[in-house]
């Protein structure tokens, strides 16, 4: 039997509410307790089936128009205008994160020139390395990283573990790309990090490999998602990573690992 607290803990794990230490403790309990593992499986199934079957209602256009007609001053600029620059950036990031977690993520991302985009992504990657914390959620377990994203995005990115192939998952973070939050997976390769950003694909297909500021960049598409991999490993190594990730992502719903 599982205790009531363990049941609550199981929910918290699936909701991405636990820190790394708590996760570790929970994983140990899970391994030792078959009935807890069964409950975890059921809850996970419930979560998956709700995600699969339920469509989040979208406000009808007529309602939008009626509310716009109320003369609604947008909340966002109000906050941003009032605050000094740094606070304004933080505030707009919070609001952007709020918007991003709705299904409007796809629609809201403004078109960005690929060259600017590569520069932005490389800068984000460098900042992650400089800060010493390339990931906001540090875990090699995709069952931790995926729920962490799932609580922040309506469309969580595919998370595959490429540990056996030499690219263990290091965690995930959120970067603001073109004013919208974007999920970034962080992989490790020996002493190097790879930032993999998932963006909604739009415009003409971007694909290829190039070098920006000495960093290798790989771009490819999978369905509606455009992946940007940034790393200081050599281009051939990154191309290998791309192939492995693409193959793993396509080999079914995140079965690897």
């Amino acid at each position: 039997m599982s205790t009531g607290d363990e049941i609550l803990l199981t929910h918290a794990v699936l909701d991405g509410e636990l820190d790394a230490a708590g996760m570790l403790d929970f994983e140990n309990r899970l391994a030792a307790n078959a009935s807890l593992a069964a409950e975890y499986g059921r809850l996970n199934a419930l979560r998956e089936v709700m995600r699969r079957e339920l469509v989040k209602p979208v406000a009808p256009q007529a309602l939008r128009e009626r509310i716009a007609a109320m003369g609604a001053p947008s909340i966002a600029p109000r906050v941003a205008r009032a605050a000094p620059r740094w606070q304004a950036m933080a505030a707009s990031a919070i609001l952007a994160a709020g918007l991003g977690s709705t299904s409007t993520w796809l629609a809201l991302r403004p078109a960005i020139e690929n060259t600017n985009l590569a520069g932005t992504l490389v800068a984000d990657h460098k900042r992650g390395l400089l800060s010493g914390a390339p990931a906001d959620v540090a875990s090699s377990d995709r069952h931790t990283v995926k729920p962490w994203f799932a609580t922040r995005f309506a469309l969580a990115p595919k998370v595959v573990d490429l540990g056996p192939q030499g690219f263990p998952l290091a965690g995930g973070r959120i970067d603001i790309i073109g004013g919208a939050p974007a999920p970034v997976l962080v992989y490790r390769h020996k002493e190097h990090f790879i930032s993999l950003t998932a963006l909604p694909a739009q415009g003409s297909p971007a694909a290829g490999a190039f070098v920006v500021d000495g960093y290798s960049v790989q771009v490819w598409r999978d369905g509606g998602t455009e992946y940007w991999a940034i790393s200081d490993i050599d281009p051939a190594g990154l191309a290998n990573f791309r192939q492995l990730f693409d193959a793993a992502a396509k080999s079914g719903p995140e079965k690897t690992g």
């Binding site: 909701d15 059921r42 419930l46 209602p57 001053p73």
Partner: protein, 159 residues
């Protein structure tokens, strides 16, 4: 207005009806605009959802009081025993209609917690602020809501 879809989704699930949800959201937005001076910055989405949630309950109390009948002592209902909870495979096969019916049948405190978490994707802390209950209550309500859902999905008529 940002976060309109979130507000609409919450009102739609809590009221169980699209046209009611439109009225509720419109009223909530009106309240939000009037209260904009009191908006202290911070989490705009949680703020709008808190207003939407309160507006929904006021609206339901006024227009459909029956929807708000709360069973006595709902927090202390005896949890369903394990035998009633279906297997993982049964849950995984549930269809949209069965899930929607099961959620709609939840008592209001459980339903709003579940919707805020699983439809709106809010964190426990945000839900605690919006519904005005301690974090522990959010967690136990969520666990009870999901427990009830699983039991409902295991009933023969849900298949």
């Amino acid at each position: 207005m940002p976060h309109l879809d979130d507000a609409y989704a919450l009102a739609r699930w809590l009221s169980g009806n699209s046209s009611d949800a439109e009225d509720i959201v419109q009223e909530a937005c009106l309240r939000a605009l009037r209260g904009l001076d009191r908006y202290a910055g911070g989490n705009a989405r949680a703020w709008l959802l808190a207003i939407t949630r309160n507006t929904t309950f006021t609206w339901l109390a006024r227009n459909r009081p029956k929807a708000l009948v709360i069973t006595e002592d709902v927090e202390n209902l005896i949890p369903a025993d394990d035998a009633a909870t279906p297997e993982e495979a049964v849950i995984a096969k549930a269809g949209a209609a069965a899930i929607e019916l099961a959620i709609a049948s939840l008592p209001p405190p459980f339903k709003e917690t579940l919707v805020l978490r699983d439809i709106n994707g809010l964190s426990y802390r945000e839900i605690a602020e919006i519904t005005g209950v301690p974090l522990g209550t959010v967690m136990s309500r969520l666990a009870r809501a999901r427990g009830l859902l699983m039991v409902a999905l295991g009933r023969p008529e849900a298949k």
